[in-house]
Assembly symmetry: C2
Homo-oligomer: 332 residues x 2
């Protein structure tokens, strides 16, 4: 059976109160008493009951994290980093995987509340008209939450994300500076924040260079491998200098399409992705891409969340973190 504080107290011949105080290193307990209690606790491998503690203290030392899809390595990295950061401050992390369904997100948030999380980090789904009642519920329960990577409209909680615009700007600028004029961009639905911001970066690079792009060069599609492949097949008829995509999976589709058509990368066409997924540097044609500063995002997100948990004044901001361009073999 699991040993309880009461038992420890009995063995140490003190009251439960004293045992508790000793375990928590409170100053009022006599040094010898403390020593005795701690020794017995260690000897019997005492492990405080989290439920009892959480119940009486009204806090859990837990924060909840909701991501959309863990099979996407970008989110695996996020989970990994959050886990580390949360550890560091003596908390633990509860994970929810929404599968891009708001109702599932909702279910997890309820579970989090059940478990007395002190705050929630949310990577929003990409659903059309999500039911976000759970977020209002969090508000009314005074449980702080922050958005990470993207945000739902209509909330003034902070959002911490990469400066996607800046990243796309950098890579397109880089290509333009190396003499490329006709750069196709394969993107997702323009209404998604993800796409919009990146497109803005593309536009900015062109404007700044005093060049102009043509609207046919912007290909809107589902941002996955297969659609990247098919989009690339269309692109090559137009013989662009480069093809940039808003994520690495799209870029992998492009790479494959070009290989299947004996088009050399980067000799004939340069290709760039976005995200810097762990394995894209290991491809046969290591991919030039924009790294999202995942570790920084997680650090900052947790920092902002904790400051809210600790009742600091609400900074209702968006925090844009700096991307890092990674030039590899697929460009220039």
């Amino acid at each position: 059976m699991r040993i309880t504080l009461k038992e420890i107290a009995r063995l140490a011949d003190v009251s439960v109160a004293t045992a508790s105080l000793a375990m928590n290193n409170r100053p009022t307990v006599n040094a010898e008493t403390r020593k005795k209690v701690l020794e017995i606790a260690r000897k019997y491998n005492y492990n405080p009951n989290h439920s009892a503690r959480s119940l009486i203290m009204g806090k859990s030392n837990c924060i909840g994290l909701i991501i959309t899809d863990i099979s996407n390595p970008f989110f695996s990295m996020l989970v990994d980093e959050f886990n580390k950061e949360v550890e560091k401050i003596g908390y633990s992390m509860l994970l929810g995987i929404s599968g891009d369904k708001a109702t599932t997100e909702q279910k997890y948030v309820e579970m989090f509340v059940s478990k007395n999380v002190e705050g929630v980090i949310i990577v929003p789904t990409i659903e059309k008209n999500p039911d976000l009642s759970h977020l209002y519920s969090l508000k009314s329960l005074d449980i702080p939450f922050v958005f990470c990577t993207s945000a739902y409209n209509g909330f003034n909680e902070p959002c911490i994300m990469t400066d996607l615009r800046e990243g796309e700007y950098q890579i397109v600028k880089h290509l333009i500076e190396h003499g490329m004029k006709k750069i196709h961009i394969i993107t997702g639905n323009r209404e998604l924040l993800l796409s919009r911001l990146r497109l803005e970066g593309y536009f900015k690079a062109y404007e700044e260079a005093g060049l102009s792009y043509r609207s046919e060069w912007i290909i809107e599609t589902v941002p996955d491998f297969d659609h990247g492949y098919n989009a690339a097949l269309k692109c090559i008829e137009d013989k662009p200098d480069a093809i940039v995509t808003i994520n690495d999976y799209l870029a992998m589709g492009v790479l494959k399409a070009l290989k299947d058509n004996q088009i050399r990368v980067p000799k004939d066409i340069s290709v760039a992705g976005y995200d810097d997924l762990l394995f894209v540097s290991l491809l046969e044609t290591p991919l030039s891409t924009i790294r999202q500063p995942v570790a920084d995002i997680c650090k900052k997100t947790l920092e902002v969340l904790m400051s809210r948990i600790n009742g600091d004044e609400k900074p209702e901001e968006i925090f844009y973190l700096e991307p890092v361009m990674k030039i590899r073999d697929s460009t220039i």
Copy 2:
């Protein structure tokens, strides 16, 4: 503030006991009373306090999962599947990432115990002489645990894993049947269960075909991309018909080495990996590999764990699940 059962009871004008009974659909409560309670609960968005419940009931509806490394997509898949399965039975999952350190594993197990998990699933680290006292501790607390993917020596708890031997056997057999005679295998340290089983499959295929392999064809190295690359550079001097590896990252290293040396795959040399990571079908040369039946592994693991939690007799077995060969462009 969070609404409590006491409050619900007050609003419904019944005792807390009745409210509790009603919420849990116990038969002794009058239909109308139940209805009244449930309505109020829904109206006020009542969410039972998990800590209180767990404390009084001595069970948590939680199981703990320990993996080694979430940046490895194989384990991401594992997490994903476990999460789904655990959901299905109304439980929730606590995640620990050991980073292949037994002490970290230990820390997570302690946390799990703190949180009253009912059982633990362990993907063992690959440490040399791990301190496994936490597992004995679990035993003495009567908290069941099972191994997944691999197992520590000296424990008779069940282990659920892919039949790695069979998988390697299949792919090597396949290559031999297509006329390949000289097949190099790049593997990890032979003492690791992971490597040993796969090597046995390789041997079996050769024996069964009445052919013989040479010990120089077995290259032991660190099983990652860079070492795969370097190992491949050595291999090609010997002009093998095929190179097989014990995981997909190794195979990616091989692919890159061959491309850099203008060796065509599969025309000049066939290449096969192991694991079927999500993206290997998307490579420029889609990789032939052995898929581990991750979903089945997770299902079976949870099933075995739950049967132990529910006190069924202990099946002290290893469960080998069937791998699936995926032939793509990189072979034949």
